[in-house]
Amino acid sequence: MPGGNPSGIHQAFPQSVQPFFESVMATKDIVLDHVSIRFGAYTAVDNAHLVIKGGEFFSFLGPSGCGKTTLLRCISGFSDPTEGRVLIGGQDMKGIGPNKRPTALIFQNLALFPLMSVSDNIAFPLEVRGVGRKDRRKRADELLEMIALPGVGDKKVHELSGGQRQRVAIARALAVEPDILLLDEPLSALDLKLRHHMRTELRTIQQQVGLTFIYITHDQGEALTMSDRVAVMNAGVIEQVDPPESIYNRPKTSFVASFVGESNAIEGKVASQAETLVSIETPLGRLQGQAAGGRQYKAGDDCILFIRPEQLSIGDGLPNAVTANWVKEEFEGNSRQLFLEANGVPLRLSRVNLGGTADTRSGAVVPVGFAPDQAIVLPHGVLAGA
């Protein structure tokens, strides 16, 4: 029974739990060794190769259908990879069922058992391992204490609120101290406010128990705020694995650049490259940006220059000056989104709202520009939403 050590924790959970998990976690790396998963001719996951370190909060981020849930089900043991291996703590998991792996999965709809009380739900993993009724109850109470829901043990699941159910699902998954907690878009059913609150809470719980969290989401906000590292996936391929800041600031593919955050994508051909500074020929004239990840381009290569809306500024005499026409403005409270157009290329510019009202009229000429070191030049590739 890997990871199953029901008697391992019996004191008050929050205080005692941390050192216990810290002692195990170093050995609990997860290795995806060239994992491919195919259904017939369809490739759901293509050659995923990475190491998730023990104790890490690791997110898979991608649009729906990108293969992230398939990969998660493969880690938790509901399917085996078509090619490659999944190793947990150095052990090949092939043929080991979900009930024998040191993982616990939190399902998208939580999958709490509707006919059981909250306590019975939380103690279910202990029940199937033959732990006695009294010990089960005690452990359930400890866990309810940990998730700050003492005294709801006898309630039925449907009597809880969405956020409470969320926490109960986490408590249930933690009942037998798994090494790895897998979370499949667990916040998607909650409303916006609660979702934001639960982000903080999840992160706190993770730091408290020190487990490896593998988190699946299509919401970049969740991935960026909570994770230690993020893997961005598209069409079965892992495009980039990096800490959140690098993902946002230094995307390595055009998909990542367009999927994470808003970006203006300006297509063009490379004219010249000096060190990391690339000059490209675009419909807006010659523009300069940084070659991502120290790439070397040849003159004439197809490429895309990405510049974030907040890095564009209005004014004369700026570097990379572009003359654009004003199309419309959207007011978003804390910011104003300006939609511009230059020689058929749509541009978006975001400004902090400092009060006052919009002063420009449709068709008016707006001079804009941006610093070359804020723009990123990437080889031509798939864009998100394209």
Binding site: F78, A104, P125, V128, R172
Partner: protein
């Protein structure tokens, strides 16, 4: 009409007609159970009587059939419910093409006419029995076994439909969650899926029991020379009827209604408790009313009423009234007879009375006292000197002498 809601009044009117069609025949049948007329009818009303219940319970063939039916029904439930569950589980796991094939195969027993199922069952098991050289007394030729086999064939499909409907609402993620939390597949099945199917097991049990108990088309073939309740009932209906069948209907409808009302009280209570509006509800907030609408209380009250009615029924004596009706009829016939005799003396062709059921009685006992009682008409009275031998002689039908107040067992 074109802006209405489909016609509230029309809808209500149609519903009313529809439900009168559903309940009318049953209500009329129930009423005939209490008319002393030897043929089940309301008009003309003769006397209020409870004797048909006694006649019913004195019918040995029906009662032994009832025992057979119960044995068969319990066995059918025990076999058909698990088979139906297995069928539903198999269907839920098959690939879509295989699933369509199996579904068609498993659903056909419902569509095949019952007589065909009955025939194929006896033919197959008979052939099998002969094939293995079984004796004639072996189970291959036993009506009970054959009925069981024939009924299970299609009743399992009913159970399967119940389970399929429930399974459709099962979230397979729950099983996966159980596995992920360390349960073995067997544990997940027992602790997650089976409890979820609990209500379906209940309704499937009820449905299969009822289907088995009521079945006629298949059973009439498979029971061979034996009898179940329904086949005995059918042969009784086919060979002349009397209101003891109405009495049976009264009992069945009574039990059904009590069951339905208790069940309704139960579901309502569960609903109220589940939604947690119990405290706000006027009825469930009040402790006295709350006890009053508890299913058990409802059942006890209804059972008490039924018991009281039964007890009252056993004490009711309709013999006096019946005697009067009889005498009344006889007197009328006598008058008619006299008249005819006077008119058609030379011909002497017919002296047979016109009106049907009691006609024989009139012939059998041309009582000279007949006319004497007619002035008293239908008013019952204890002081009336009823001729002791008249009813038995006058009426050859089973109810006359068979009336026995102790024959009706109180239900408690």
């Amino acid at each position: 009409m074109n802006r209405g809601t489909g016609g509230g009044a029309v809808a209500a009117g149609f519903s009313l007609l529809f439900f009168s069609f559903l309940f009318g025949p049953l209500i009329i049948m129930v009423i005939t159970a209490f008319n002393s007329s030897s043929f089940p009818r309301i008009t003309p009303w003769e006397c209020f009587t409870t004797e048909w219940f006694a006649v019913l319970f004195a019918n040995d063939r029906l009662m032994s059939g009832l025992l057979n039916s119960l044995v068969i029904a319990v066995s059918v439930v025990a076999i058909a419910v698990p088979i139906g569950l297995a069928g539903a589980l198999a269907l839920s796991e098959l690939s879509s093409r295989l699933r369509a094939v199996l579904y068609t195969v498993l659903i056909t027993p419902i569509l095949i006419p019952g007589v065909v199922l009955g025939i194929s069952t006896i033919v197959f098991w008979g052939a099998l029995g002969r094939g293995v050289g079984a004796e004639y007394g072996s189970f291959f030729f036993d009506g009970m076994f054959l009925t069981l086999a024939g009924q299970v064939t299609f009743i399992s499909a009913y159970a399967m439909l119940v389970f399929l409907a429930r399974l459709q609402r099962f979230d397979p993620i729950l099983t996966e969650a159980a596995l992920d939390l360390g349960a073995t597949p067997g544990q997940a099945f027992r602790k997650i899926l089976l409890p979820f199917l609990g209500p379906a097991i209940g309704s499937a049990t009820f449905l299969t029991f009822l289907a088995s108990f009521e079945n006629y088309n298949t059973t009439v073939f498979t029971i061979l020379s034996g009898n179940t309740f329904t086949t005995a009932l059918a042969s009784k209906v086919r060979h002349g009827t009397d209101p003891s069948l109405s009495a049976l209907a009264v009992i069945i409808i009574g039990v059904t209604l009590i069951g339905a009302i208790v069940h309704e009280a139960h579901t309502r209570r569960k609903e109220v408790l589940r939604t947690g509006i119990a405290r706000r509800s006027r009825i469930y907030g009040n402790p006295v009313l709350k006890t009053l609408v508890h299913p058990l209380t409802v059942f006890l009250i209804l059972a008490g009423i039924a018991g009281l009615a039964t007890w009252q029924g056993t004490r009711h004596d309709a013999s006096v009234c019946k005697q009067q009706v009889l005498d009344d009829k006889r007197a009328r016939q006598q008058e008619l007879l006299e008249e005819q005799r006077r008119k058609m003396q030379e011909q002497q062709k017919t002296t047979a009375p016109v009106s049907a059921p009691a006609g024989a009685a009139g012939k059998a006992n041309p009582s000279p006292f007949g006319g004497a009682f007619s002035p008293n008409g239908l008013t019952p009275g204890r002081e009336e000197p009823a001729p002791a031998d008249a009813p038995a002689k006058a009426n050859p039908s089973p109810f006359g002498g068979a009336f026995n107040p102790n024959g009706l067992k109180p239900s408690q």
